[in-house]
Symmetry: C2
């Protein structure tokens, strides 16, 4: 027998995520957040919690979206190699068109070393990325789409860590061609 929460919580999380994503955890103030979320700090503390808790929810939300993307790609029922190549091209597009790098990467370097909860969310996310790549590589090998003289586990680890450096490169040089050429070399390694 009382009123309900007035604001849309998942929309508010989305807005907060965008601010954290762009500015990073420490450079984002509570005012930045409540402005973007369009709620009062009392509502924030009553429902979600403090800044740390909100950040955890945002990182979780970010990784949830990625998880859905991977699932959708696998459900496509296309050949393993074409899913893989599609994914790489899309990753390149995100890097060269996105305006604030990858939140998971930024968070790994800024926060994960000091916050165990955040780290565990990123570890789980990384594990899903690994599984996505590993399964595609393994299946592509079994179907003869790519050479099979390397361990799929090694290749999955290796490729999974490769994108991170492309983000850094693009922050420094803003050179799309550089990224595209690296991606082409990357694909060539797999297939030839």
């Amino acid at each position: 027998m009382a009123r309900n929460v007035e604001f849309d919580e998942s929309l508010a999380i989305q807005k907060a995520m965008e601010v954290f994503w762009k500015k990073g955890y420490n450079a984002t103030s509570l005012r930045d957040l409540t402005d973007a979320m369009q709620i009062n700090s009392s509502s924030l503390y009553n429902t979600i919690g403090d800044k740390q808790e909100l950040f955890v929810r945002c990182v979780q939300h970010y990784t949830d979206i990625r998880k859905q993307d991977w699932e959708k790609r696998l459900a496509g029922k296309r050949s393993p190699l074409s899913i893989l190549v599609d994914y790489i091209h899309e990753a390149v597009n995100v890097i060269i068109n996105g305006e604030s790098s990858c939140m998971a990467v930024k968070t790994a370097f800024e926060v994960a070393t000091n916050d165990e909860r955040v780290k565990q969310i990123l570890v789980a996310d990384d594990q899903r990325a690994y599984n996505f790549l590993h399964d595609l590589i393994k299946n592509a090998m079994e179907e003869g789409e790519i050479r099979d003289d390397e361990d799929p586990a090694l290749l999955a680890d290796y490729f999974n860590s490769t994108w991170t450096g492309w983000y850094e490169s693009f922050i420094l040089h803003q050179d799309p061609v550089k990224i595209k050429r690296m991606a082409e070399y990357f694909i060539k390694q797999l297939t030839k």
Copy 2:
């Protein structure tokens, strides 16, 4: 006709760098810095300047050290490939034994997007890293130490961006074997 600065400025920069390196720019307070540097904030502002200026000096110092390391390695007069392989092994050691990741990488993601001066220091540093790799790869090709069917410029870019992901991987998994295996695969690609 007056007294001189009492503290050792380059030692103070070194101490400040260690704090920034570990905690990042935004999570480091002026108190953290003056405590580590063992000077009063008035001395800091009289000599070096404000927090931003101090950070710039620290990043510059960090990249200066790297520059010296590259020069020393090239002066070694050993074969290009052995210099390269040595360097990769040393990079792995730094990743798996260092206790706070790479300051250049962390700074690229946390600060370089918002601070043009810091970004330019990192761009110059990245260019030196690129040159180091490019020259070694090119020379190794000319001396027949490695295959020469790829563009040295592409390989230098590609390899230069690869380490960054290894740092991220180690933050999340703290698994030295993972890093070592990726490094071995990395070297194998070059030589085989």
